[in-house]
């Protein structure tokens, strides 16, 4: 970046008191351009490979000439992300340089305008969207880079990058949209990309199915989202964020039915996108997509859109205690439920998938208990360590795949029972993933410790207002889930990287560390997973924190950064609690949250939880190492309760039985019976009846003159009778 450009943006930041975003549209537009460029390349390539397919040959990236099928997408794909990221950083710096209270809304054109309803194609830049953009473009860029290595030989390489860029475009629209409809564009757009990417290898029926499932389940959520929008519209006559959230505290009654309905429908939308109970089922299946996709979409960014949305609409949720407690309840239930399933999974990506669901549950718990910043915080750290975990697993799978491919072994490259001892072949990956594991397990001072413990803490502390009992239960459950997390993650690590290698003697010779394009992103993410949490060190432990103390710029930086977004919600909650007298006797400064349900301060519980988690991790390492594991083909089927967990509590089967199959049956019934028998039957009976009557009447036309005369006489009689009787 040239000095003059640097001067330009710094000047802007200094001279203007208000935040003036630099090329905001370009941030969003660049990935779109990348998509168009890559899409064009992809189509060209696909045309050529289609010819090959018709000739009965196999697809080959070289068919279209390596430069256009590989080199160009490799440059364009990550390139546009890097450029976007750079722009985001510039804007982030400029934003942090000023005191920004109100969001900056950039309007481009009027999108829809009916006369009573107007919505602009406008983007909103504020603290929350900035954080989200950083995550999306930053982590997104790393994953793009990783993909260059991971997808190197895939015949759909340019298409892959086209989708990925399109995804980032929609994700950016989602997080920057200045109104609910614009957000919804991104909301559905990412769903579309998720659909396309899950089914990226569409030739495989199961993968294709998984994509479809993701899309349809997401649409159930979208239904809720839309209904929420409608309710919002009739109450506010607009769907712009600024107006809605600005007027909400006055326009909507606290705890009223309207706001509760809004929040519950929004929750349905969020649950769909963020894979919460009862709509989480698509996410584990979504692992059918390429692993970097799982990292980007199904861990770091898209699935957190629900959390983002709740945080964005925090005022509304704050206005509805029922809504909030439901959000939190759904979150914690999901966290625990998914964790139980993750306990016994043997597919490395499935473990991570359920782990993701579980962590998303934590985020929901966070935003549900009113700790919106904490939720977003966990969203961010989770983006780091979960992306890392996925990418790491991707590296492992990549390696496994190569090895199995070389020896034509049909074994499953993702099954941990076929791994073991991988750290010998890929030490860097193992290290990076251990960092991430510690982070997710909540071990101090890794990123996850700060974010997750904060959520749990707030859950406990929320037990002062309405539904105090429920929140207490949540707190306990969240703690339990944290322990489970520590266990299953450690189990996964040990099964994968430790012990003896179970891949096979011949195969193990081909196991190797990933190329640099893959390891570099791992490294960066590992660093972020290490230190990412430090941006939001709680006030209570800042002094003692690593002895750094005052060296940290500030405690709870993220809280303060997001203050303009969340303060309205916080205010609403506080006022409500004050009005209810729930805070009587409480010290009232920053918040109202100072004591856990069973006493003890924040620091105490932080210590307890980290120690507990560490114990679980250590114990698990020892325990699992002692298992005598066999490759998948030789392993027995799980039994008893393990099998229930292994089969995911049979939820998919349940849904299939009570929703999918009945729906199909009803549909067939409608078609075969209502449509074809009743309605068409009626139509045909009318038609056929008319013809039958016609035929019957024509039988009187016997050809005999007597009959004809007789009918005429009857007619005369009738007429005479009528007339004579009448006259």
């Amino acid at each position: 970046m040239s000095a003059s450009l640097g001067m330009f943006w710094l000047d802007g930041a200094e001279s203007a008191a208000a935040f003036d975003p630099v090329l905001p549209g370009l941030i969003v537009l660049l990935p779109l351009l990348g998509f168009l460029a890559n899409g064009w390349l992809a189509l060209r390539h696909a045309e050529r490979s289609a010819d090959a397919v018709r000739r009965g040959e196999e697809l080959d990236l070289d068919t279209g000439g390596r430069p256009s099928t590989h080199t160009l997408p490799s440059l364009i794909g990550p390139g546009v992300l890097l450029a976007s990221f750079a722009l985001v950083v510039v804007n982030f710096v400029r934003m942090s340089a000023v005191e920004l209270h109100d969001p900056v809304v950039v309007r481009y054109w009027t999108w829809m305008a009916t006369g009573t309803f107007t919505v602009d194609a406008a983007l909103q830049f504020d603290q929350l969207s900035m954080i989200m953009m950083l995550v999306v473009t930053g982590v997104g860029f790393l994953i793009h880079v990783f993909s260059v290595g991971y997808m190197k030989d895939d015949p759909g390489y340019p298409r892959y990058f086209a989708y990925l860029n399109l995804f980032v475009f929609f994700m950016l629209v989602l997080v920057t949209g200045a109104s609910f409809p614009v957000m919804f564009v991104g909301w559905e757009g990412v769903g579309l990309c998720s659909y396309l990417l899950i089914g990226f290898w569409f030739g495989d029926r199961e993968k294709s199915d998984a994509g479809k499932k993701a899309f349809i389940v997401n649409r159930i959520g979208d239904f809720g989202f839309l209904v929420a929008l409608f309710i919002l519209f009739i109450n506010f006559q607009t769907l712009d964020f600024v107006t809605v959230f600005g007027e909400a505290p006055e326009a909507l009654t606290y705890g009223g039915g309207v706001v509760t309905a809004i929040t519950l429908f929004l929750l349905l939308g969020a649950a769909g996108k963020s894979a919460q109970i009862p709509l989480y089922v698509w996410l584990p299946d979504a692992m059918a997509g390429p692993t970097p996709v799982s990292a980007l979409i199904h861990a770091a960014t898209m699935v957190t859109a629900g959390v983002y949305m709740v945080a964005r609409a925090s005022v509304l949720f704050a206005l509805s205690p029922v809504g909030s407690v439901t959000v939190a309840g759904v979150g914690v239930a999901t966290a625990l439920f998914a964790a139980t399933i993750a306990l016994t999974q043997t597919d490395i990506k499935k473990v991570l998938a359920y782990s993701t669901v579980s962590q998303l549950g934590y985020m929901f718990l966070g935003v549900g208990v009113g700790a919106y910043a904490a939720g977003v915080f966990h969203l961010m750290t989770h983006a780091f360590f979960k992306a890392l975990l996925f990418l790491g697993s991707g590296a492992v799978i990549h390696s496994m795949h190569h090895a199995l491919h070389h020896t034509h072994n049909p074994a499953d490259a993702q099954d941990m029972r076929n791994m073991g001892g991988m750290r010998r072949f890929m030490p860097f990956t193992a290290l990076a993933m251990w960092i991430a594991t510690l982070a997710i397990a909540g071990i101090w001072p890794f990123a996850g410790f700060f974010s997750k413990d904060e959520i749990i803490w707030y859950a406990g502390a929320a037990a002062v207002g309405p539904y105090a009992g429920l929140y207490t239960v949540y707190w306990v459950l969240a703690l339990a889930a944290a322990m489970l997390t520590a266990f299953y993650m450690t189990r996964m690590m040990v099964m994968t990287f430790h012990g003896a290698n179970r891949t096979g003697d011949e195969e193990s010779k081909h196991l190797h560390e990933a190329p640099w394009t893959m390891t570099v992103p791992l490294g960066v993410l590992a660093v972020l997973s290490m230190f990412g949490g430090w941006i939001n060190v709680p006030e209570a432990i800042r002094e003692s924190f690593l002895g750094l103390g005052g060296a940290l710029p500030m405690s709870e930086w993220l809280h303060h950064w997001l203050e303009p977004i969340t303060h309205a919600a916080t205010q609403v909650r506080e006022e409500a609690l004050l009005a209810a007298g729930a805070l009587a006797g409480q010290e009232h400064d920053y918040g109202f949250l100072h004591h856990a349900p069973f006493g003890g301060g924040e620091l105490t519980w932080a210590l307890v939880s980290t120690v507990a988690a560490a114990v679980v991790v250590a114990g698990t390492v020892l325990w699992v190492r002692g298992w005598s594991l066999a490759p998948a083909s030789e392993s027995p089927e799980p039994t008893g309760f393990r099998k229930v967990l292994y089969d995911k509590w049979y939820v998919d089967e349940l849904y299939d039985r009570i929703i999918v199959q009945p729906l199909l049956a009803v549909s067939r019934f409608f078609w075969r019976f209502i449509d074809q028998v009743i309605i068409d039957g009626f139509v045909n009976v009318v038609g056929g009846g008319a013809r039958a009557v016609g035929w019957f009447v024509s039988l009187f036309q016997t050809g005999s003159v007597n009959t004809y005369a007789f009918v005429i006489t009857l007619g005369v009689l009738a007429i005479l009778g009528a007339v004579v009787a009448g006259g």
Binding site: V53, G56, M112, G203, S208, D222, F223, I234
Partner: protein
């Protein structure tokens, strides 16, 4: 552009040319050699389309008035006028028609193999009929055009259709004729009332709107009109002709059927039903009934579509669902709903038309429409697959495509009127995925496991030329529908004001006084205000 149009006097002859030029085109098509018929027809209709584009510029946005209106007596004794005019509602319907026709004709090039002259002549005849329907401002003239569209379509389906073409054609014909003939009686009733009122019979809509009708009368007439239009739409449970007609119709026939013929029904709602019978239209029971039928149509058709083995039939059922959105939008009687309905009409015309074209292309390649026969086509026909997926997504209303704008607004408007029904209708969003995605998957994704499918060719340049403008429009309208909406808004508002102002009208009519609806200074009685 506007100046140029003024210079050539477009305003005075444009509409007439749009109606009659296609008919004139029948002659060169029929006279020329068989092999040239399609080209003549295509270029002719393309010319008509270019001509119709002039409407966009010569139309003055922001006015609810009929523009470029002209009328002259046709059958003086009955007060039948040859009266044409365009407003924000019909403008887009006309453009949709003139746009769809050349596209459909272009899509017919390979599909139609026999009696080409006749086919293309009928297509042009059909265009005349449909444009006439949308431009007529005289009820009689409208009816003539409305019925006139049946005949070409009957032959298009019946002669160039599939195996059960005759059944489908006759069903189509009788179903629709049944409704429209009852409407004819209602029209005559209205006319008789108007004649009795003023002593000067007239079929002009503007004159008929002045007839004070009791609620009872309005409900009866509404029923007759609504039946005709609902069959055309088609509204559940009057929809069963549609799947048959679509499945059997040749591709261009399906395209025109879906893109414009169905719109004649909903257009009729907007142009005639609501303004002529405002009290009946605003009657709560009527609104509920129509909206319930719309909602049932949305859900029911989506479900039924989902289990169709025949892709074309599937798309046909989706038409029912889409038109359900239009119906709930229209009968919401809100600005949002009506405009949403209109946008759905446009969007459905484009996206469903495109879907039928695409299915036609598939059919030309594989001579089957059974979903199970396909699989993995994306590998051999990536362009086709891309176009199909985009179209399918537009069809199920993905934001950023035209489908979303329309459905969103229609649902929004419906929610303002009947929240519960709107919520039910919104489930259509889910079921849209439920019917469309499995079809897309089974046709284009999954394994390429059949040798026949392996040889499927990708899009030809001609086919790209057909689809490209459609795709551009789907996305274009989805991203920036405002220019369309600003043109339709005043007209929509006028309709709503008409419906809302009705009770004033009725109250005074019983006293023998007629309220002038357009006069904003008219004092409203308090009980009317709510």
């Amino acid at each position: 552009m506007t100046a140029f149009l003024e210079a050539i006097g477009y305003g005075s002859w444009g509409l007439h040319a749009l109606v009659w030029l296609p008919l004139l085109g029948v002659a060169p098509v029929l006279v020329g050699p068989e092999s040239r018929a399609k080209k003549v027809a295509f270029w002719w209709s393309a010319g008509v389309f270019v001509l119709s584009l002039g409407l966009w510029w010569s139309f003055v946005p922001g006015s609810a008035e009929l523009q470029m209106a002209s009328e002259r007596p046709w059958i003086g004794a009955w007060g039948v006028h040859y009266a044409l005019g365009v407003d924000g509602i019909s403008l887009f319907m006309v453009l949709l028609t003139t746009f769809t026709t050349p596209v459909a004709i272009l899509g017919a090039f390979n599909y139609i193999q026999k009696k080409e002259r006749g086919f293309y002549a009928l297509m042009l005849l059909l265009e005349t009929g449909v444009v006439g329907v949308f431009l007529a401002t005289d009820l009689f003239l409208f009816y003539v055009f409305f019925e006139l569209t049946l005949v070409p379509m009957y032959f298009i389906v019946g002669v160039w259709g599939g195996e059960r073409r005759v059944y489908a054609a006759v069903k189509f014909f009788l179903y629709t004729a049944f409704g429209s003939l009852l409407m004819l009686v209602a029209i005559l009733y209205l006319h008789a009332r108007a004649g009795a009122l003023s002593g000067d019979p007239s079929f002009l809509i503007a004159d008929l709107m002045r007839v004070p009708l009791s609620l009872q009368e309005q409900l009866w007439l509404f029923g007759a009109f609504a039946l005709a239009f609902s069959i055309k739409v088609p509204l559940f449970p009057l929809h069963t002709w549609l799947p048959d007609a679509h499945v059997e119709a040749p591709t261009p026939g399906s395209v025109v059927l879906a893109a414009v013929l169905l719109k004649m029904g909903t257009y009729g709602f907007l142009r005639f039903l609501l303004p002529l019978f405002p009290a009946a239209s605003a009657h709560p029971a009527v609104v509920s009934t129509m909206m319930i039928l719309g909602v049932v149509g949305i859900i029911y058709a989506a479900w039924v579509a989902a289990v169709q083995p025949d892709a074309k039939k599937l798309v046909a059922y989706t038409s029912v669902a889409h038109m359900g959105f239009v119906v709930i939008g229209v009968f919401a009687l809100t600005v949002n709903g009506l405009q949403g309905g209109l946008v759905v009409m446009i969007s459905h015309g484009i996206s469903t038309g495109a879907l039928f074209l695409l299915l036609g292309m598939l059919y030309e390649r594989r001579h089957t429409r059974l979903i199970a026969e396909f699989g993995g086509l994306a590998r051999v026909a990536p362009m086709l697959a891309t176009a199909f997926v985009i179209t399918a997504l537009a069809s199920i209303g993905l934001p950023g495509t035209s489908g979303f704008v329309g459905e969103f607004l229609a649902l929004l408007g419906a929610f303002e009127a009947r929240p519960l029904l709107a919520i039910l209708a919104t489930t259509g969003v889910i079921f849209a995925g439920y019917y469309m995605l499995p079809m897309v998957q089974k046709v284009f994704f999954n394994a390429l496991d059949r040798d026949e499918n392996r040889q499927v060719a990708d899009l030809s340049p001609r086919e790209i030329a057909i689809l490209a403008p459609l795709v551009v429009l789907m996305v274009g309208i989805g991203v920036n529908p405002a220019p369309i909406m600003e043109r339709m808004e005043p007209s929509v508002r006028a309709v709503i004001e008409r419906v809302e102002g009705v009770e004033v009208d009725l109250g005074l009519a019983e006293l023998g006084v007629r309220a002038d609806i357009d006069d904003p200074d008219e004092p409203e009685s308090p009980e009317v205000a709510q």
